[in-house]
């Protein structure tokens, strides 16, 4: 896989976030390029969700700045942020209106078609499977056709078939020029789909580069990214 086009003015500079005395994110900076698929990996508590929440504008950083307003990015939180008593279409329509999408009904129809949920449009979200709920969750994140889509562990609750369909969908977004930033614990997904990796540990950004560069940095088996990740963390005292 190759790194995509030149960086767009979508950047994070020196982001720091504290929860009480605990530093969840420490001086994190990076830039994103158009159509780039960026995987954020790291152990539990590394700060992946905190970083995505700050990029989405759901959390304010204590220090540092973003080059964009949070709502300019599409955001898909880890747990589906949906109203289970509303139907699929009602959820989409509500968020389309709140996002002030110019033609909410057209946006709803487009997202129903893109996510393959047209035949379930009138069904209450609470009655859908976890996979379909995640599709609605992603659809809401894409309603305003954002240039950047932020996904927090998007495949965590999906079965292998649903995961496959999800990554096809995300890859297609990238091909259409949408920048996708996702966090995951599944290193194989990063190896397979990500153009670039951001490795976080204890709130610090330890590495940024392609998966192959991460493997080379450790000098181990070039076909085993997971071993490279563990080795890299070990080398850096994590």
């Amino acid at each position: 896989m190759s790194t995509a086009a030149a960086p767009i003015p979508f950047a994070a500079r020196s982001l720091t976030k504290r929860f009480g005395t605990r530093v969840a994110l420490r001086d994190v900076s990076f830039e994103l390029a158009a159509g780039e698929l960026v995987g954020i990996i790291g152990p539990n508590g590394a700060g992946k969700t905190t970083l995505l929440s700050i990029l989405a504008g759901a959390l304010a950083p204590d220090e540092g700045e973003l080059s964009h307003a949070g709502r300019d990015a599409g955001w898909v939180p880890q747990k589906p942020a949906l109203y289970s008593k509303l139907s699929v279409a009602e959820n989409l329509r509500l968020f389309a209106r709140l996002e002030k999408v110019p033609d909410p009904e057209a946006a709803v129809a487009r997202m129903l078609e893109q996510t393959g949920l047209s035949d379930r449009a009138g069904e209450e979200v609470g009655r859908l499977s976890g996979g379909n709920q995640q599709r609605v969750n992603i659809a809401i994140g894409l309603l305003s056709e954002p240039p950047v889509l932020l996904l927090d562990e998007p495949s965590a609750s999906l079965d292998p078939r649903q995961r496959e369909r999800l990554w096809e969908f995300i890859s297609a977004l990238g091909q259409r020029g949408t920048t996708v930033v996702f966090s995951t614990h599944n290193v194989a997904e990063v190896e397979r789909y990500a153009h670039r990796v951001l490795l976080l540990a204890d709130g610090e950004l330890l590495f940024t580069g392609t998966p192959a560069e991460l493997e080379r940095a450790v000098g181990g088996d070039p076909r085993d990214l997971e071993a490279a990740l563990v080795g890299f963390l070990h080398l850096h005292g994590h």
Binding site: S53, A56, G57, A58, L59, A69, G70, R71, W75, P77, K79, P80, A81, L82, Y83, S84, K85, L86, E90, L94, F95, R97, L98, E99, E124, I140
Partner: protein
């Protein structure tokens, strides 16, 4: 805010059980409170047995007869009598639980009263047996019977005094007295004095009787004067005090209207607080809160929407409830716009308190439970009568009641229902201020807890 309101109404429409409970439960509680406050306590079941044989219940006072046993039957006005045929049966009825108490009028009662009146000795006694396990019920029965016995006592005393006053008048002015079925004329002090005065005028100047008769006339003058005062003095003992009631301040709302106001405000409080707390918690339990506040909706607007939603729904429910209550209790329909104003402002204040609670809780069930737990003492503190507690505690309760919307809402709606004092202006301002304060606290709580 419009889209959020529509969304919440859609959610409520699809939660019929929740909405049903939310409306039926507080209304049921409110109606129970209303009925309890507006219904007078029933008459206690009492077994009354009169041992005085028929025709033997009268006593003689001067030349008049008084039916003591008849007066004792006045007790029937305060009780629901249980039929018994002996003292033993009366006591058994209490033991068996058929009656809460037994009152036994002993056969000797008329004689005891007669002795007390004529000789000033003895203590006429009525026997009372109680068997209530509930201390409050015991107090109620005790008070009902004691109060009626006092009334009987007063009636007998009054009658005795009236007879005594009549006798004094006859001693003073003359009349007749019945002895062995024969009317015997009574001369009277004034007539006796006139006779002595006439006799004195016929006596020679140097008669030795003049000085003695002069003393008799002086004594008669003093006695006539003294007994002349005795009549009004004795008359006043029968009713020594007259209470002239003037209400200078406080509530003049009729009791049943006040009970209706309590019922309506209890409903308003429960519906608003549970709805506001629950609907705000829904945003977090559905994980939608973070998605909303990342620029789509400000936290302040979200809170306002929940307050308006809860207050609006509760106002609607309680206006309908008040209209229903007005079928049974007089509520002043000409002040309908004030009903709506009082309920709407009360709804906003309770709604703000509800969202302050909802902002702290993450789950709907936790928010509902917290709202419920806060509601009960808020209502209780506002309903404790001022006379029921001592000074320091009263001050504390007054301060606590002032800090929450229940008392102000109750005063506002009681006034709106009846148009009586105290006025509606201050409670409405109070409610508006509380709405702002609690909304501010809710915003702080959101900032503190919602990001977690």
């Amino acid at each position: 805010m419009r889209w959020l309101l529509i969304k919440d109404l859609q959610i409520l429409r699809r939660s019929p059980l929740l909405v049903g409970l939310l409306i039926v439960y507080p209304i049921a509680i409110a109606l129970m409170i209303g009925f309890a406050l507006s219904s007078p306590p029933g008459k206690p079941k009492v077994a009354l047995y009169n041992e005085v044989p028929a025709g033997r219940g009268t006593i003689n006072i001067g030349n008049q007869k008084l039916d003591v046993a008849g007066y004792a039957s006045e007790l029937l006005n305060s009780i629901q009598p249980v039929k018994v045929h002996s003292a033993a049966q009366a006591i058994a009825a209490v033991r068996d639980g058929q009656a809460l108490a037994a009152v036994i009028i002993p056969a000797a009662l008329p004689q005891q009263i007669q002795t007390l009146i004529t000789q000033g000795v003895g203590s006429p006694t009525v026997r009372l047996y109680l068997n209530t396990k509930d201390p409050i019920e015991k107090q109620f029965v005790d008070q009902a019977i004691s109060s009626r016995i006092n009334t009987v006592e007063q009636a007998v005393s009054k009658q005795v005094l009236r007879v005594a006053v009549n006798d004094l008048q006859e001693v003073l002015n003359g009349g007749s007295v019945e002895i062995l079925g024969q009317k015997v004329p009574l001369l009277g002090l004034r007539n006796a004095r006139t006779i002595v005065q006439g006799t004195l005028a016929t006596l020679p100047r140097d008669s030795p009787l003049r000085a003695a008769l002069g003393q008799v006339i002086s004594f008669a003058d003093l006695a006539i004067q003294g007994l002349g005062f005795a009549k009004p003095v004795l008359g006043s003992i029968g009713t020594p005090l007259t209470v002239q009631e003037t209400q200078l301040a406080g509530r003049t709302t009729p009791t049943d209207t006040y009970a209706a106001a309590i019922a309506v405000i209890v409903s308003l409080m429960f519906v608003t607080m549970l709805l506001a707390a629950g609907m705000l918690a829904v945003e977090r339990s559905e994980n939608a809160y973070a998605r909303l506040v990342r620029g789509l909706v400000t936290p302040g607007r979200l809170l306002s929407e929940k307050i308006v939603l809860a207050g609006g729904c509760a106002t609607l429910v309680t206006v309908v409830m008040a209209a229903f209550i007005s079928l049974f209790i007089h509520l002043d329909w000409s002040r309908f716009e004030l009903w709506v104003l009082a309920l709407a402002l009360g709804g906003l204040a309770f709604g703000a308190l509800g969202v302050a609670i909802g902002a702290v809780a993450r789950e709907v069930s936790a928010a509902s439970l917290m709202a419920f737990l806060v509601s009960l003492p808020v209502a209780f503190v506002a309903l404790v009568p001022a006379s029921a507690v001592s000074g320091a505690i009263k001050t504390v309760l007054d301060v606590v009641a002032f800090l929450f919307p229940f008392k102000a809402a109750l005063e506002a709606i009681a006034n709106a229902f009846s148009g009586t004092s105290p006025g509606i202006g201050l409670p409405l301002v109070h409610l508006a201020v509380l709405a702002v304060v609690f909304a501010g606290l809710a915003a702080l709580a959101m900032r503190r807890f919602a990001a977690r």
